[in-house]
């Protein structure tokens, strides 16, 4: 639709907003999030608990539990079609078939009273109701093989409790793959698993991306996972992206104080006088966000930021020049995000 030389993005999210209505007030869990995702590429959204990562993922598929959740604005363009404009009855046709999702707890994502074969078959039948059983079976086995489930034929008749955690997650992935989606949203797919199983699942994601051209939206708090799997990173804080960059650039040159804090925490190399100073404090109360930059109360540069409007104005996500200078204009939503490094901080470009 847009006049660009680059192929249009498969999924383009613009200024997505979602909130939870609670007795304490409206919690703006997703507050103006924009990103785009191309075929075969992957974006990792990183952030601490309560930063709005999962709400973003659920809002994409309009799976946010309502009440209390509600999407309040923005658009989710999938192949140029705004999913937020669709009738609710049209969403099941999109879920799984176009955009599939893998959840955090593989144990909970499987129905305990249904065999593995039937659950994966269900994903196929949800979109192709009339498919003859022999073909359904073929598709189920195909999906299980793609997800790297060993001896898939034998698994068909097994119940979830008979499988290990890693295997359960592979079955969940097989369910997601069964309808041959173009986008896979994975919400903390490896968090509940031990490290070796994690590593193998991440290899699986990389394989699926290159082999099936799957676009991957990975939600995680684990920078190790990001480094291994993602092409691009978006750091989320208090419902907003505070920095987004290609993965190499991000680890080489993190600009936002929060990103730096996350990376330092992951490296377990606290700087100077104390452990992990930057990430001190808890998550922001999103019902009553602080004025100005939402990270300011926890920012290690907060005290030295004299003369900066950190406590008064909210910094916009702005492209950074290649040499670290601060470009003058704010980024248009979703614009040229493939290579660009964007950050929302008044201090970037300062000498510090």
């Amino acid at each position: 639709m847009r006049m660009t030389a680059v192929e249009p993005a498969l999924l383009e999210v613009r200024d997505l907003r979602a909130e939870y209505r609670t007795p304490r007030g409206r919690i703006r869990a997703v507050d103006g999030v924009s990103f785009s995702l191309r075929e075969g590429r992957s974006l990792a959204i990183v952030g601490e608990s309560g930063s709005g990562k999962t709400a973003t993922a659920l809002a994409l598929l309009r799976l946010l539990p309502d009440p209390p959740g509600r999407i309040t604005g923005g658009s989710v363009l999938y192949r140029g079609r705004d999913l937020l404009e669709l009738e609710p009855e049209e969403m099941p046709g999109v879920r799984g078939r176009e955009i599939a999702m893998v959840f955090q707890e593989p144990g909970g994502a499987l129905n305990p009273v249904m065999t593995v074969g039937r659950q994966v078959a269900e994903a196929v039948l949800a979109h192709e109701p009339g498919l003859p059983p022999s073909q359904v079976r073929r598709r189920v086995i195909e999906a299980l093989i793609q997800a790297g489930v060993p001896s898939p034929e034998r698994r068909l008749g097994q119940y979830p409790h008979e499988l290990s955690g890693g295997l359960k997650q592979r079955v969940v992935i097989a369910m997601a793959l069964a309808c041959r989606p173009a986008v896979l949203v994975a919400d903390e797919p490896t968090t509940a698993l031990d490290v070796t199983v994690q590593a193998r699942l991440l290899d699986l994601f990389a394989y699926l991306q290159s082999r099936l051209g799957l676009a991957l939206l990975l939600i995680t708090h684990d920078l190790g996972v990001v480094a291994r799997t993602a092409d691009r990173v978006a750091v989320m804080y208090a419902g907003r992206f505070v920095e987004t960059a290609p993965v190499g650039e991000f680890f080489r040159r993190p600009l936002h104080p929060y990103s730096r804090g996350l990376i330092e925490a992951a490296r377990l190399t606290p700087t100077g006088g104390g452990a992990l100073k930057v990430t001190e404090g808890g998550a922001v109360d999103l019902a009553h966000p602080p004025p100005g930059c939402r990270f300011a109360p926890r920012c290690r540069f907060g005290r030295t930021a004299a003369g900066r409007p950190c406590r008064e104005a909210e910094p916009a996500l702005t492209p950074v020049g290649r040499r670290g200078g601060r470009a003058g204009r704010p980024a248009a939503a979703g614009e040229g995000e493939v290579e660009e490094h964007l950050v929302a901080c008044f201090l970037v470009g300062e000498d510090r």
Binding site: L61, L63, P67, P92, G93, V94, R95, G96, R97, A100, M101, F103, Q104, E105, G107, G108, A109, L110, N111, P112, V113, M114, E122, A123, A126, H127, Y159, P160, H161, E162, V172, M175, A176, A178, C179
Partner: protein, 296 residues
């Protein structure tokens, strides 16, 4: 026993999570309550089925020459005021009790499960309306409500069924709603949505199979209540009408001869007790067997 440990660890909120974690048989064999309940029910059912074969006489056959005979040879349970054989009437009464109990329970299930699932799954105003209706029904004593309905509709089989179904559904509905709400919160429902499953599909394939255990248990104990309530209505003259043999009606009509012919009340009373006890024991046993929270 590895399977058993696995079954226990997967237990979420709600009853009877992994129904098939162990082979069905092993959980039920050796449970004395289930065994006792099934034995009693087998006797009652056999009596109902074999009534025409084993009854010493036709239940409606009058024999005015031998009225109010005490139990003895020829009439093991004695005879009533019209000379009808009490054993034959108790046997045929089992048919009425079981059939009425079963039909009323089926009606209860249809109404209670449907409304419970709707309320639990959709929540919001559907839930509000259904639950307020439940509150209204539960605020009235069961029997009083049944009497009112049966009296309003006039005595007879159909009004008994209607009354019993209307009395039974609110409790079941509340139970089913609570179970459904617990299941709906679980991740696999969200996962099913995420692969594109529609509402009806999710309810039929994911929600219902995960709430069957409590429904099975409630059905068994519910059958006992239905039989008891049918007997109560018939005892009050609002239920099954003569000459049809119903245990409750037999007690009703036997009462006026209580001092002269107590067997008219004792035997149908025992039959009611046996059937109700059978269903209650079975229900309790099933609960022990199916509820992971009550398992060791």
């Amino acid at each position: 026993m590895a399977t058993r440990a696995a079954a226990g660890s997967g237990a979420g909120p709600g009853v009877g999570r992994p129904l098939r974690a162990r082979p069905w048989g092993r959980r039920f064999v050796g449970n004395p309550m289930i065994a006792a309940g099934l034995t009693l029910l087998a006797i009652v059912t056999a009596a109902a089925l074999a009534a025409p074969l084993v009854a010493p006489a036709h239940p409606d056959e009058l024999s005015l020459g031998e009225t109010l005979r005490p139990p003895g040879p020829g009439h093991p349970f004695g005879t009533d005021y019209y000379g009808r054989d009490v054993l034959a009437r108790v046997l045929f009464g089992a048919r009425v009790s079981l059939l009425v109990g079963l039909s009323a329970q089926v009606a209860t299930l249809v109404v209670g499960v449907t409304l419970g699932v709707l309320a639990g799954y959709f929540g919001g105003w559907v839930d509000f309306l259904v639950m307020r209706a439940v509150d209204v029904f539960l605020a009235l004593p069961d029997l009083l409500l049944a009497i009112g309905i049966a009296a309003a509709l006039g005595p007879g089989l159909v009004s008994v069924l209607a009354a019993l179904a209307l009395v039974g559904w609110p409790g079941l509905c509340r139970l089913v709603r609570a179970e459904v709400r617990a299941v709906v919160e679980r991740d696999f429902i969200q996962a099913a949505r995420a692969v594109g499953a529609g509402r009806g599909w999710i309810v039929m394939r994911h929600v219902l199979p995960n709430v069957t255990a409590p429904i099975v248990i409630a059905t068994s104990t519910g059958m006992g209540s239905r039989i008891m309530q049918e007997a109560s209505l018939s005892f009050l003259g609002l239920g099954i009408q003569p000459p049809m043999a119903s245990w409750g009606a037999m007690v009703h009509f036997g009462l006026r001869w209580l001092s002269r012919a107590p067997w008219l009340v004792i035997f149908p009373g025992l039959a009611i007790a046996a059937a109700v006890l059978g269903f209650n024991l079975l229900g309790d046993g099933l609960r022990d067997a199916l509820d992971p929270r009550l398992r060791d």
